[in-house]
Amino acid sequence: MRNITAQATAAATRLAGSDVAVEVRGISKLYSEVEALRAIDLDFPRGKLTTLLGPSGCGKTTLLKIIAGLIPATAGEIRVNGQVVTGPGPERAFVFQDFALMPWATVMRNVAFGLELKGMGRDERQAIAAKYIAEVGLTGFESKYPHELSGGMRQRVGLARAFAVNADVLLLDEPFSAVDEQNRRKFQEDLLSLVEKEKKTFIFVTHSIEEAVYCSDRIVILSRRPGRISQIIEPEIDRSASPDAIRRDQSYLDTVEEIWQGLKRYVD
């Protein structure tokens, strides 16, 4: 585990030399009177999974949606692959907390929906969708409707839909919060193997410390409103071990504890 303390954060938020997928520069967000985010500077390394962690109301989802281009920032700019972006773009794909699946469409159509919007032909997009349906482990469910699936399976559909558009950056907004605990563990394990396989940049919002430590290459801890970066932690956990071994690993447990000690003061 590497803890980059608050004092050194300013230097660490900008990754010198290394490959950066998403740059956040001076992002602030005001909701009428409420200051949600204040002057956030942050780099997201390419091909890694970075987690935004923080107490509820710290603006982590707001920051993610600003990166996605779903809500405008009050000040500052977002650069993806060096280009300034103002709205949603094909290089980013979003996975929603409440899945956001169309209840009237089958799994196949839901997964292929991003491609359908781009105007891709039916056969072509279904071939791509079928590949990602298989990758998230939903083969055989192509013609089911969302209400016939469990919460975990619905989020797998959401994930497959984001993969299908072949974006460089995947933005996941508390993807497991509506999934029950056992499914969540299995899903986290599957997500890690997908991160390994897909070589994409993942930005992940969660309020679960264990989930953050288990899944992330890098954890950015935001302070309470107005949201600012309070700590950056790199768990440096050996992921070649089995998932169960990781969960019993001493450095995993220490990291969870350390983050909890840091966050405790924000809890009422």
Binding site: A68, G69, L70, P88, G89, P90, R92, A93, F94, F96, D98, A100, M102, P103, W104, F113, G114, E116, L117, K118, Y145, P146, H147, E148, V165
Partner: protein
């Protein structure tokens, strides 16, 4: 409803297979069974009330049934509905197209909402029977006036339902469409309208029910034609079974039409609801 499960080794004795088969058949159709029983009970009470009798103008169920069958086979109903359905079908068709269209536009645009919504809210609140004499002053007593009566009753509820449905379209699905770079047109046609369609259809069903009220009001208040004429005529000559048969027929027609519309919606528009 399913049978209580017989756990293996349960001390309760199983009923003979034949009886359990019959019971299973019955419980499969339990809802239908209760509905039939409810209607049967209603007819029984009607028959008793008619025989008491509570009023000389209140025929028994069997007398009404006889009159109903007679009118069904001598062509009285066919001729009456040929007339009644004209303003109804035209009026509902216009209300559906205009109502759904205006409702969707109001839901999508604040400007259209401010401009048009108050008109429909006032129209929906207004007692329409009071306005029907006004229609006759302007449009006379023909098909036009009756169609207008149907539209005045059906249009507001269809338009307001469409407007509410579109305005309350699932914001998360809309955000999803935006995040995958859907155009505004794709957002409306692929997300907002499909998401709104159950409520739009509920509005159409309410509009159709209101349209039936409108056409009967028009036939009773403007000039007696069609089914309104059957009711008025048989009342004036004291053929009460025939009058009741006419009333029952319009209730039947409107119920069956609404049920058909609902079945159509389930079959065609909501494929995910069929498989439950």
């Amino acid at each position: 409803m399913s049978l209580p499960l017989h756990v293996k080794g349960s001390p309760r004795a199983l009923p003979s297979t034949e009886a359990s088969f019959l019971w299973r058949k019955l419980s499969e159709h339990r809802t239908a069974l209760w509905r039939t029983a409810s209607i049967g009970l209603f007819f029984l009470v009607w028959e008793i009330a008619g025989r008491v009798p509570i009023s000389f103008a209140f025929p028994t169920f069997l007398e009404t049934l006889r009159a109903f069958l007679t009118m069904l086979f001598n062509g009285a109903f066919v001729a009456a509905y040929a007339q009644t359905l004209q303003p109804l079908v035209i009026g509902i068709a216009i209300s559906a197209v205009v109502g759904v269209g205006v409702g969707i536009v109001m839901g999508l645009s604040r400007f259209a909402e401010w401009l048009v919504a108050p008109v429909f809210i006032v129209l929906q609140a207004a007692p329409m029977a009071a306005l029907i004499p006004l229609i006759t002053f302007v449009y006379g007593i023909g098909l036009m006036a009756k169609t207008l009566a149907v539209i005045m009753l059906a249009l507001p509820v269809i338009a307001l339902n469409g407007y509410k449905a579109v305005r309350n379209a699932n914001p998360s699905l809309v955000a999803m469409c935006v995040s995958f770079q859907g155009t505004r047109w794709q957002r409306i046609t692929k997300i907002i309208i499909p998401d709104a369609s159950p409520v739009i259809f509920a509005g159409l069903r309410l509009g159709l029910a209101a349209g039936f009220i409108g056409v009967i009001l028009a036939e009773l208040l403007i000039t007696p034609t069609g089914i309104g004429d059957l009711i008025t005529y048989h009342r004036s000559v004291a053929d009460y079974p025939e009058m009741y048969a006419a009333v029952v027929s319009i209730i039947l027609v409107s119920t069956l039409t609404l049920a058909a519309l609902e079945a159509f919606e389930l079959r065609v528009l909501r494929p995910e609801k069929r498989r439950t």
